[in-house]
Symmetry: D2
Subunit: 279 residues, 4 copies
């Protein structure tokens, strides 16, 4: 598995270059960032050289398409997608991710039909550039009633949705936080195959009743109560070999310097990977 | 357009042979029935000869798969589907239909995902036998709250679902009753293309406020308040040339003889087709 | 059916505006042109006003994606497609077409697999903008051996390919020239349904043995030997209501003025539509 | 990885029970057999108990559908498929495989389109029962010209075809013999992900020029010239954890007893797995 960073959890980063430097300095393998912006800034060749000299790969880009609003918004996003996918491909990145809100103001069944079509269309474009689409189910309970109608939030529902979308390049973004807040176990991971997982997020949860865990109040890996050793071991055992990227969403930005936060992240990764018995 | 009969509205029919005889006697063009049963009873060749001698085609078969319950039930139905499809194909029938209940006890979004996959699988099998799948949206208001969660019931939602299912052989079963109870107009029909319509049902509604119209309390064409002339003209104008089959669901079976009900059906068809100016 | 013009057959047109003016002046209903270029030049609103004031719609755009070469070329085209589709949609155009060369220098089976994926991806993007993709089979015999390996050129093969592509918005561009050079009859048209036809081309062929008919040596409708009255009647009977666009490919550009050629085109359309008994 | 047996290479087996007993006796983990026949013979529960008591799982069933001939033959097979899939599912089997002949008497491009549709329909049915479809590319050179037109035989072509089929449950049957006869290396395996591989065959080739290797003249693993240690290590490194099943096609049935052949198979497996450093 590859150790990855996102900018969530590193405080006041100046820019993607800053993220890349810190990731390299603290021995991470991958960074999640906006490939299109990087390619636009440096050009494809220089961007690849920069990544290579830092010993980094790009783990995943975010899906630059708003698929939860109206058709016009969706179509505007779709116009941007091929370019974003081409930029990711140019950097050797094969992952693009988006998250699923557990409730919606739309009529749930109709929105599911619309979103199925839209994500299929996104996946189809991504496939043309050799990129997979990861869907992140979101577990925290408070979000299940945040909007008018319940949507979906469990692993099983998400796998069923992925089957409904029916594009071979769609899979899971598997996040330890949502695994935990859904009350799942290591056995649930054992039932997956590595081909079902596009990307992995890692982070930790406070020691409060699981129903009260808030989505944007996360801890660094190993600083909370999630069985991250079991989580990592489970993924390793089924043969997952992709990135495990830290994503620490917090109510406000951490005040520590990005350097200190990156060092802390490295220490946290070392701790949980060692606990899991994975090099 | 072809004038069609189903057994709904013909009272105590003895069997499909009875339906076929009455359809032929009263100058209908098509009948909706269980093709597999007919082929099993007569054999393929004799069944076709019988249909031909009666001047009839088979309009549509019903989808013999329960896609609204659990996986096991669905799989059991799926095992029957290729045979049913082969029988329909053997009789020259190119349509298979099912209806969509406007509410559900399942979680709506998850059920939409599951049902999308299941209907795609049905459609895929039907396609192998040259058969299209028609989905009937169901308009009566009382059914929208009959089960726990609202599902879908409008034309627009159904077209969006058909796009989500994403199999080229899926379209609408367009029923005058659901057109009426959804408050739709002739202009809504004009926006359709004939390729979107797999099959058509015709029947009429009582003169009560539209919110109070009951699904199983239908009238014969022309005996109620639906603008069936407009309905037929609308379909004719966009180029629809398939069957228009009567389906009169009633609280209890009509007491008149099937012969009388068939004669009444013919008179009703004559009336509304004449009013529409269609031969 | 709508009478349509393309720029093929109108000689030295100055630009699309010229095409539009002549189409309007000679009572055509639709023009095939580059929607993106028109929208870029005039803006969406002015473009629509211009079309409306001329009594025109846009029949079809051409697929701006090279799907017959390598992946890079294809991806570059794909990056342009959403914008082109959005422009077509902005003008109310619902058709996008491409043609199939009857032979190829690629290994035929592998190229069929690649092209299936590529056209599906194109179709998926077009669907997001409400646009259908029309595939034109190409009949002239000399093209069947023009490149190393035979590909496909018949109606049946093309319908089978459309089924393999498996996107609901893909259908035929049905061209009278290819109908003729494939030795097809009016009965072959009767077996189609209007939903299978995205777009229609009309033109005529010289009185030479059908095996010697050249793809780029076409005549104006009615000036050759194709049974265009039967062709149009066949399409009308199955309920086709879309555009029938003239496309006169010739060895060199006609020397007559665009005005004269447009007048001649109108006279030709009048003749064949009258012969077909269609207003 | 699981060590698996098929009946190819065990000589004059009496029946599937015989295969199962020998597989168990010689410490194999899985057998490839006709699940439907086993379930029909013993019933679902007894069949599962028998497998469990023997320490076996069912690796894969063969696709019981002839997709290379005409529509009628295909449809007849399709009628059998749901039952076969249900039987496999009842035994916990998640794989169904078929092979691709490298040449064909059909027109290659048209046949590719037809076969794409047919295999998609098979895959869709299998998906309803939780089963994946493995496609085996076939490398021996003599088969590339065995029939009139070249079809496909390389890994790359097969992956492109799998993308054209576009069902998420379709992947490769990866056979060491076809890897070897296509001149592939361990690096080619490293480029795959485990989700792309449905099933694996192992066997060995005679020491003749690779162009002369015959498809039905195979050796037991380790008795020939294929780098099976590299093959297995490559699969292990990418995380493949499924069955590796022996399939020894020979010009005539081996004369040794099934017991001797099973013992020899075990010794061969021990040798190549040890050489690969895999337990």
């Amino acid at each position: 598995m590859l150790r990855g960073l996102t900018n969530a959890g590193l405080g006041a980063l100046k820019n993607d270059e800053h993220l890349m430097e810190l990731a390299s300095q603290y021995s991470f393998d991958s960074v999640d960032l906006d490939a299109n912006s990087l390619v636009s800034r440096l050009g494809k060749d220089a961007a690849n050289e920069r990544l290579q000299s830092l010993g980094l790969t790009v783990g995943s880009i975010g899906l630059p398409v708003e698929w939860r609003a109206d058709d016009q918004k969706f179509q505007e996003g779709l116009e941007q997608l091929p370019k974003a996918a081409a930029a990711a491909q140019a950097l050797g990145c094969t992952r693009c991710c988006t998250y699923i809100l557990p409730s919606t103001d739309h009529a749930a069944a109709h929105f599911m039909a619309l979103a199925t079509t839209r994500l299929r269309q996104c996946a189809s474009i991504l496939a043309a550039f050799g990129i997979r689409l990861g869907l992140e189910f979101v577990g925290p309970h408070h979000l299940r009633t945040q909007w008018k109608n319940p949507f979906i939030w469990t692993l099983e529902e998400t796998l069923d949705w992925i089957q409904a979308i029916n594009e071979p390049n769609v899979g899971l973004l598997f996040d330890a936080y949502h695994w935990y807040t859904n009350g799942m176990t290591v056995e649930d991971i054992a039932r997956l195959s590595p081909g079902q997982i596009v990307h992995v997020h890692i982070n930790d949860a406070k020691d409060v009743p699981v129903e009260q865990v808030l989505d944007n109040d996360r801890l660094y890996p190993g600083e909370g109560v999630i069985d991250l050793a079991g989580f990592l071991r489970g993924l390793h055992r089924i043969g997952y070999q992709g990135p495990v990227a830290q994503e620490i969403l917090t109510p406000s930005q951490p005040e520590d310097s990005p350097e200190d936060l990156a060092a802390r992240s490295k220490a946290c990764f070392d701790q949980v990977f060692t606990a899991a018995g994975i090099e």
